[in-house]
């Protein structure tokens, strides 16, 4: 199969998944009946005739008196037009909330995934090449224990030790609270405590050359990023180690050794690349874990990303944000998986023929 045929096939497979995803979110939004669905679009503080008027308007707009499959198409139309409802917490459109909070989560997950790879590759490879040595045993015990820890314990243990006990690093929020008054006087900062243009304090401060604020924002990223890394590290190291062990058992490695190629070259040049290849498929698991983990980690560290916002929405019965997050995380995950699958097909031609 040519690469473009493979890409095309993957793109076609994307369609039913995306339709299914919207059906799932639609079903979740409508499971509680029309009144729950209307809560997506109506501010709970609105009462009296104004509320009734809005209810009538929305009933007509979403055709709530028509059969459910008709409703789906009107709902899908609204979603495609970017009308995802209004957050009951801050009264802003759900999509506006995503624009504000998503960049922080993306930064956190990108940093955590980079850290995961930088740490796990040498450890996994080293552990496999020295199989059953004391170090390998140590790595196995450590990853097994870390793998068994619930994610909240990893996050909270870091929060307690480095944050509240030793006061080594800030453990709450995206920036020190006492810096907020200084920030509100800056031109790149608005009254909703949102910075421009990227909405990430760290990057925006750097863009505007404000080093002290950038440094403070950077310190606030460290603990959540490390916590998220630790939550995923164990799984990735285990997969890498097994993959490396399988490659080291192959005939061409034996041949290389028999030819007298130094052990180091065999490991780094012959084995490592092939061992890394299958782990690309675990990227999907990594991304799913990153987003799910971000919800918990952001909540523990009060890091204002989309995960934190979703948890707040959940606890405050803000259905519009909870459902919107389900859809938006779904779309991001589907697209990421698509890109990774295409990348994998590009790197390893064998995969295209499966």
């Amino acid at each position: 199969m040519k690469l473009w045929v493979y890409v095309l096939r993957r793109l076609i497979l994307l369609v039913p998944t995306l339709i299914g995803l919207t059906l799932l979110v639609f079903a979740l939004e409508h499971a509680g009946g029309p009144s729950v669905f209307l809560a997506l679009y109506i501010n709970p503080h609105l009462t009296g005739s104004a509320r009734q008027q809005l209810v009538d308007q929305l009933t007509a707009r979403f055709h709530l008196n028509d059969p459910i499959y008709v409703q789906y198409f009107y709902w899908l139309g609204a979603i495609l037009q970017g009308d995802w409802g209004t957050s009951a917490q801050n009264g802003q459109a759900v999509t506006t909330n995503f624009v504000w909070f998503m960049p922080n989560t993306i930064m956190l997950t990108v940093v955590a995934s980079l850290l995961t790879w930088v740490i796990s590759i040498p450890i996994g490879v080293y552990s496999a090449t020295r199989r059953d040595s004391v170090l390998d045993q140590g790595v196995r015990v450590a990853t097994f224990t870390l793998y068994s820890m619930p994610i909240f314990l990893i996050g909270f243990a870091l929060f307690l030790t480095f944050g509240t006990s030793w006061h080594l690093l800030p453990a709450q929020g995206n920036i020190d609270d006492n810096l907020l008054p200084t920030l509100s006087s800056k031109s790149w900062f608005d009254s909703n405590a949102v910075s421009y243009p990227t909405h990430i304090y760290l990057i925006d401060a750097l863009l505007h050359g404000d080093v002290p604020i950038a440094w403070n924002a950077f310190l606030h990223v460290i603990l959540p990023a490390v916590a998220l890394t630790l939550a995923l590290l164990a799984g990735i190291i285990r997969i890498l180690r097994v993959s490396m062990l399988e490659v080291l058992d192959q005939d061409y490695i034996r041949l290389a050794r028999a030819k007298g190629v130094p052990e180091r070259t065999v490991n780094n040049f012959h084995a490592k690349k092939n061992a890394l290849l299958p782990t690309v498929t675990t990227f999907g698991y990594l991304v799913s874990g990153l987003f799910g983990g971000a919800v918990v980690i952001e909540e523990i560290f009060g890091f204002k990303g989309i995960g934190w916002w979703t948890t707040m929405a959940f606890l405050n019965s803000d259905i519009a944000v909870v459902m919107g997050s389900t859809l938006v995380f779904g779309i991001v995950l589907v697209l990421t998986t698509l890109i990774l699958d295409i990348l994998y097909g590009f790197l390893d031609p064998r995969i295209r023929y499966e």
Partner: protein, 311 residues
């Protein structure tokens, strides 16, 4: 691991499996810890007085205001001889404090039951769907694959939040939410296992002998699918406990209506930063120990069914 000799005479499958499993020391350690957890759950269920667990099922404030007789201070006490894991307080000030060890012993029961329930129901439903769709194939199989794709397309912690939002925030509803998330995994696994046995010669023979589809599926394919699924179950129990506790920790079950380990950690959420670290670390550590035990057990079971390792 010691080598296992093949027995002469009648080949005893179970004996060999047991020998392979018990030759693995870490797996046995996992089994022992798991049995301790089960024993704890049974004792608390049958004779709560034996371990001094005297708190009612519900930890709603009025019931929980019964102060432990030995507990005199209002602030949580650090681990001591009387309270090996320290004490905690219920969120309301002046309600007195409670022995963390007793709370944990009581909570284990709920976590054990929930995780087994979720994984067993999810595995049973998912595996049957997977086997049937892989054996029938064609449109049914394609539909099953696309449906599971949808469930995999949302990060599971977020899907769990959305589902428990719709179903209602109780322990049982959270278990149903996790089952809805878990069955697709087993459907995929059951499917791939079936595809690899479907073309075997003995299935051809069964077909030639006139066996019906149902008989082939459940009599000839299922026995090949069940052992690997059992291994997966034992590995997943640990994951489910962690996810369930994590959801409870971030407050999915309001007011910690049930003494569950994650909910216990949630009670300590505001206490731990004040220096009472044991209120969160002890329940969290208990989950880790349980998860570790079932993971070790699962690894041992995997060796048992892997023919490369048992020869």
């Amino acid at each position: 691991m010691e080598t296992i000799k093949e027995e002469k005479g009648r080949f005893d499958e179970w004996k060999l499996s047991a020998r392979v499993f018990f030759a693995n020391r870490t797996a046995v350690a996992g089994l022992v810890i798991f049995l301790l957890f089960v024993g704890d759950a049974i004792i608390v269920e049958v004779a709560p007085g034996l371990v001094g667990v005297q708190y009612p099922d519900s930890v709603v404030p009025p019931l929980f205001s019964i102060t432990h007789p030995e507990c005199v201070n209002q602030a949580p006490e650090p681990p001591s001889f009387d309270h090996p894991f320290g004490t905690t307080e219920y969120g309301v000030p002046g309600e007195g404090c409670l022995d963390v060890l007793q709370l944990v012993m009581k909570a284990i029961r709920i976590d054990l039951a929930i995780s087994l329930f979720v994984v067993l129901v999810g595995a049973a439903v998912g595996t049957v769907i997977g086997v049937v769709s892989a054996y029938i194939g064609r449109l049914l199989d394609e539909a099953m694959m696309r449906i599971t794709d949808v469930f995999f397309s949302v990060p599971f912690l977020i899907l769990a939040l959305a589902l428990s939002f719709v179903l209602g925030r109780t322990v049982l509803n959270m278990a149903w939410a996790l089952i809805i998330i878990w069955w697709p995994l087993y459907a995929r696994y059951g499917r791939s296992l079936t595809l690899s046995t479907k073309e075997a010669t003995y299935i051809e023979a069964a077909k030639a002998a006139g066996s019906g589809r149902l008989k082939i599926m459940f009599k000839h394919i299922f026995p090949n699918v069940v052992p690997p699924v059992l291994v997966q179950i034992s590995l997943d129990v640990g994951t489910v406990v962690g996810i369930f506790a994590t959801l409870a920790f971030i407050g999915v079950i309001p007011n910690a209506l049930v003494p569950e380990l994650g909910a216990l950690a949630n009670i300590g959420l505001n206490l731990a930063p004040l220096g009472y670290w044991w209120t969160v670390i002890v329940p969290g550590g208990t989950i880790t120990l349980f998860s570790l035990a079932v993971n070790l057990m699962g690894d041992g079971l995997r060796d048992v069914i892997d023919p490369r390792r048992r020869s």
